[in-house]
Symmetry: C2
Subunit: 469 residues, 2 copies
């Protein structure tokens, strides 16, 4: 019988049975105990170590369950041949220090990115309480593959939210939950079929443009006017699909008036296979007046495919978006995409469902609207004092404004210089998919979602430096 | 000033300030307090309700933060116009009763599905403890968009696991984390480019086949031999890509010997743009001998694209898979897919990282291997007593076996009859992508991941009924 050297630490955080488990396991892994060797009896080891017999039994049970030792009827436990077992050493590399802002090599201190939400005011307590209770011990079904469209409970919450907050009337059966807008566009292009042509505005959400390109779609580009997409360009295009953001155009911030909405719907209804993709990703926060209802509401269930996301209303790192399909596309969805499992983990779906169901989402939206409005007002007040600011537009909604600046330097150079001194900032031309266009003055996008007043002041001071060079 | 009727319940679970908040909010929402009406002072209300002033202040602060009331300097609080606020009623529909097994209309009592993992032995305690600590209060960076490939900490854990458990040597830079194998195949087809031709075995993972079809790839079909894919069919195909499962072919359970592996690699190395996709999704559990290393190890970083998943080692509802790319594909990944955000939530990534880093994953694998081996042995012992069982194959690994049965009834009819009496079971032909092939005897797939001995006995008794009809 093998003699064991176990050095028990009574003042350790680790339970005694775990210390015994670790020690025996290590001896077997290191070959100090060979396969086939007999281990001391639990009675003997308990006495020898001065612990209760049940403590040793717990350790032996765990070693048995994981295949390190094997009991033989009436004869005690023996070490196993562990060459068949997984032995995974820690990677050895230290965990990356988190810098707060993940920009790899770049050293960003102040981020005017339009995609960042407020970290400081995230409802951490509610989130913690909800998340803690999402447990497979309570809900074993969380371990089973769920509904490909997303769990019905969550889709009902989304449907209810859409109806009350966005004016989108749809059944939960029309909703498909997925891991981000780009993934849903990949799915959509499999539903609509290949060899389609999409018309997009010259300034747009570039990732959608790139996704369509990757999916083999033909892309056409329309001019953006004050009232939204140029209808003449729509009429003269060969497109089957027009991609728009009627409630809050990204990045320009324009709102499409009813007349243009109806013109678009009329265009779409002329042929059976024409569709409008309404991307509503930047529409939750409006600081003057009521929320503007979605285009879907002007033509429910017919020609509009609605895309929504929790990226701005909660956070983009959650990766939950959804798509609402007209009924006549559902059959095609089932046929070509029904076999794909939902790309959002069931744990995350349950977390979001409860967050909405318990009313936290509604409260969060209203609270953040107030906070973002204050940030918006503060930023505008600061910008209005700056001599290099020629004009500000795209304000009163969303999480960024556009600033036309007094400078003979190119947008690209301005942004690069800002990055060099720790300020992440983007230019309007980064969101342009058409051929480069010379604008009279450089235009910058200033996102303020994750900035407090002090950071805004510091960021603007640094921009002032660059712009007065 | 408005008089408030607030009915405080001192024995409620709800904090007093929340009761005040709820009551005032409801009165404003219902119009009992009109926009512009003045609310009682906190001092007055506290005295009136017999609570501390700070309790009322907390309630008023929250109402202010969410935009229901507004303080005016030196003059108290006033109700706001809430028509701009989100008012989201609960959906009203009751939560779906969870049935344990989510099969919609079908009433499945016993599931021989090959995709289900053991629910009863899931490490709920460890999972609960790890998950509880994944909190944006502790790690605000969880709220930021992360690395498109997946967080580096998690990729390091995966790289370490792959090296030690699967013989896959790669840097974390070659690993791309994504929401499921099908999503990664969509990504891969965007990396490899369109107009490719893929060769797959006649029996295979059908979802991969469907995904390739959806992505516009040309599909060719090879015969499956005892040693894996038929090399003659490989040599005579026009394919650029061969999709294989060398370690544990799904659904047949065959292992590809070294000779065939080397032949495949030789074929792939003949042209620059030939690749082998190694799908390793069913390879973790082997009940005889050591784990079999992946094909990647025979040709590291050259022609093999490795696909792995946590679907069987943890659970498919977690939706985390990963892909390892040869270095020469990384540039193309950056170029065509670098803009896609990682489809796995950062919260889930952090949870999995910690689960692995704290050693739970290794322990879970070893424990489950023992448990699944016992289930495997039990199922085989039960099946060997049945007269309708002609032969059993694909055993000693994975979470299912194949059973050739004595019956003149078609596979399809057998499965349908089983479903009618509450038994989910699948036939071999469901995993066939080639033209229908008449096999001498029907063959069924019996998955046992989520069945205990009693369920197996009940399930087999029901199959016996059908097969002796």
């Amino acid at each position: 019988m093998k003699e064991l050297w176990i050095d028990l630490q009574s003042d350790s955080d680790q339970a005694l049975y775990e210390q015994i488990y670790d020690s025996v396991r290590k001896d077997i892994a290191d070959g100090k105990i060979s396969p086939g060797e007999k281990l001391p009896s639990t009675r003997f080891l308990a006495k020898y170590l001065g612990v209760s017999r049940s403590t040793v039994e717990l350790a032996y049970d765990q070693l048995t369950a994981e295949g390190y030792i094997m009991p033989r009827q009436g004869s005690g436990c023996y070490a196993c041949d562990i060459s068949e077992l997984y032995q995974i050493q820690k990677s050895g590399k230290k965990r990356e220090q988190s810098t707060g802002i993940d920009m790899g090599e770049r050293n960003v201190e102040i981020s005017f990115s339009p995609y960042e939400v407020d970290q400081r005011n995230f409802p951490c307590d509610a989130w913690y309480r909800v998340n803690k209770n999402v447990s497979p011990a309570e809900q074993p079904e969380l371990l089973l593959s769920g509904d490909p469209k997303g769990q019905i409970d969550l889709r009902r919450q989304i449907s209810s939210y859409l109806y009350q907050a966005r004016g989108v009337e749809c059944s939960e059966n029309q909703i498909i939950v997925g891991a981000g807008n780009e993934y849903l566009l990949m799915l959509l292009s499999q539903i609509l079929g290949s060899e389609k042509s999409v018309l997009m505005e010259e300034y747009t959400y570039v990732n959608a443009y790139k996704t369509f390109c990757n999916m083999g779609y033909t892309l056409e580009i329309a001019r953006t006017e004050e009232d939204g997409i140029c209808m003449n360009d729509v009429y003269h295009s060969d497109a089957d699909i027009v991609y728009v953001m009627p409630v809050h155009q990204f990045p320009l911030g324009t709102v499409m008036p009813l007349k243009r909405r109806l013109e678009l719907i009329k265009w779409a209804s002329e042929f059976e296979n024409r569709y409008l993709i309404e991307d509503d990703h930047d529409s939750e926060f409006r600081y003057k007046g009521k929320p503007i209802p979605a285009l879907w509401g002007n033509d429910p269930g017919q020609h509009v495919i609605y895309l929504g996301t929790f990226s701005k209303s909660i956070t983009s790192s959650l990766r939950i978006s959804f798509m609402v399909l007209p009924n006549r596309l559902l059959q095609q969805y089932e046929k070509s995409c029904g076999f794909y499992a939902c790309t959002v983990s069931r744990f995350s779906q349950e977390l979001l469902f409860r967050f909405m169901e318990e009313g936290h989402f509604e409260r969060h939206l209203n609270r953040m609207r107030n906070i973002y409005r204050q940030k918006h007002d503060t930023l505008l007040a600061l910008l209005k004092q700056e001599t290099w600011v020629r004009s500000i537009y795209g304000d009163n909604a969303g999480l960024h404004v556009l600033v036309e600046v007094e400078s003979s330097v190119s947008e690209e150079t301005l942004c690069q210089r800002a990055w060099e001194i720790g300020v992440e900032i983007h230019s309007l031309s980064e969101y342009r998919i058409g051929p480069a266009k010379k604008t009279p003055y450089p235009t910058l996008l200033l996102g303020y979602g994750n900035l407090n007043e002090k950071d805004m002041e510091r960021g603007i001071a640094r921009l002032r430096e660059i712009l007065s060079e």
